[in-house]
Amino acid sequence: MTSPYPLLSIVGIVMGALTIAASLIWVERRLLALWQDRYGPNRTGPFGLLQVVADAIKIFMKEDWIPPFVDTPVFIVAPAIIFVTVLMSFAVIPVAPGIVVSDLNIGLLFFLGMSSVGVYSVVLAGWSSNNKYSLVGGMRAAAQMLSYEVFMGLSVMGVVLLSGSFSLGTIVEAQKKVWFVVPQFPGFVLFLIAGLAETRRIPFDLPEAESELIAGYHSEYSGMKFGMFFVGEYMGITLISGMIAVLFFGGWLGPVLPGLLWFLIKTFLFIAFFILLRAALPRPRFDQLMSWGWKVMLPLALANLLLTGAAVIIRR
């Protein structure tokens, strides 16, 4: 199942992903304000929508300062890695029937692999900054990713068992009768939490914990290099939300409206939920984070996998 116009869908998905990520600057601030009884940016243009343009212009005009004490090549490469890996992951997401850059038969594995590579960005940024806070941030990111990647992979295995494929297109097609969130509810919750940790969003933003580590791994970054981390994070949110929609909520499936719109609606709902979590939850301590990951989430993911496997065998 390849796209009839491959170039068109490549350009469409890249531009779409970048546009959504950029507009999330505005969406996040407005939604956070909504849940904090404020208005958020509402002065620049209609509903403050031009805030995105203003922020983009500002960040492009800023001096891109490389401190003299950093490991320059690594320092420059690090922000590019997160950008590239997240963008690569978008290649396997089927946004509508036939609209996908590349419907790999190992799409899910590709996504997991790319998100693992993305961690290098954070670790290398923290390491090359030659700054103890950045390093602590990078190390935290490494430890956090290690422990959350494990059950992230395990939590989606239930979906793979039920659909019998690693291809995301096939997974969506397998949800025609019932969305996988119903039989795989624990898997959905686990994936959601792991996705939060993966994107380093608020309850799990220990790598950049501004109250303890200044800005963590990107303390030394400025200008567009910081912008890359910033947009990379927002694209990560979009990616994880899209993945949740594809894996557990039937991707483009839905009545009346066209598939693309259904996919976007579902994705946006999860983006909004991520922002709601940011508005609601405090940051846990690092040892709480680690023991939560290894002692609670991992056994739960294993149990979920075991039960799903048993159910699949019994039903056959």
Partner: protein, 171 residues
């Protein structure tokens, strides 16, 4: 775990609550009558300046933003030759108002005094003086003070008896 979900739900409910933001330029905030904003110099009911150039405000000012020069008119009445407040230094603490013995210097509920040039924030006496009496209507320092000036001799102030000549024994 349940408390986390409860938190998320209650934060979500905030979406339907009233905003606390005051949309400032369109919607003005309420300022209390005793709000400490722009400083003015008031006049007495006769229209004369209340300020007697005693320098107490300049001394009380913690940032030293008040400068004035005392002089006297033909009646022997003191008034400031110039009176200058540098609002780029002023911290609006209100100590000048507390120090003022004649209710001349007062703070008003007005804070919209942004300028493009720093020099524009230095207010001279003409900028500070208002035509009204401010917070203390009817008060006239020279009418109640026991000081002798031209046109008002001893014993001619309000609620003041003529002076007693202590050297005479006549009843």
């Amino acid at each position: 775990m349940l408390s986390i979900l409860r938190t998320i739900w209650f934060v979500f409910l905030h979406a339907f609550q009233k905003r606390v933001t005051v949309q400032y330029p369109e919607e003005k905030p309420y300022l209390a009558p005793r709000y400490r904003g722009r400083i003015i110099l008031s006049r007495d009911p006769d229209g004369g300046e209340r300020c007697v150039a005693c320098n107490l405000c300049a001394v009380a000012c913690p940032v030293g933003c008040i400068a004035l020069q005392a002089t006297e008119d033909e009646h022997g009445r003191r008034y400031p030759e110039f009176f200058r407040i540098n609002f780029s230094r002023c911290i609006f603490c209100g100590w000048c108002e507390e120090a003022c013995p004649t209710y001349a210097i007062q703070l008003t509920p007005d804070f919209e005094m942004a300028e493009f040039h720093r020099q524009s924030l230095v207010y001279e006496k003409e900028d500070l003086l208002i035509d009204g009496q401010g917070k203390h209507p009817g008060y006239n320092y020279w009418r109640v003070a026991g000081v002798q000036i031209g046109g008002k001799d001893k014993g001619q102030a309000e609620h003041e008896a003529p002076p007693v000549d202590v050297h005479t024994l006549l009843p």
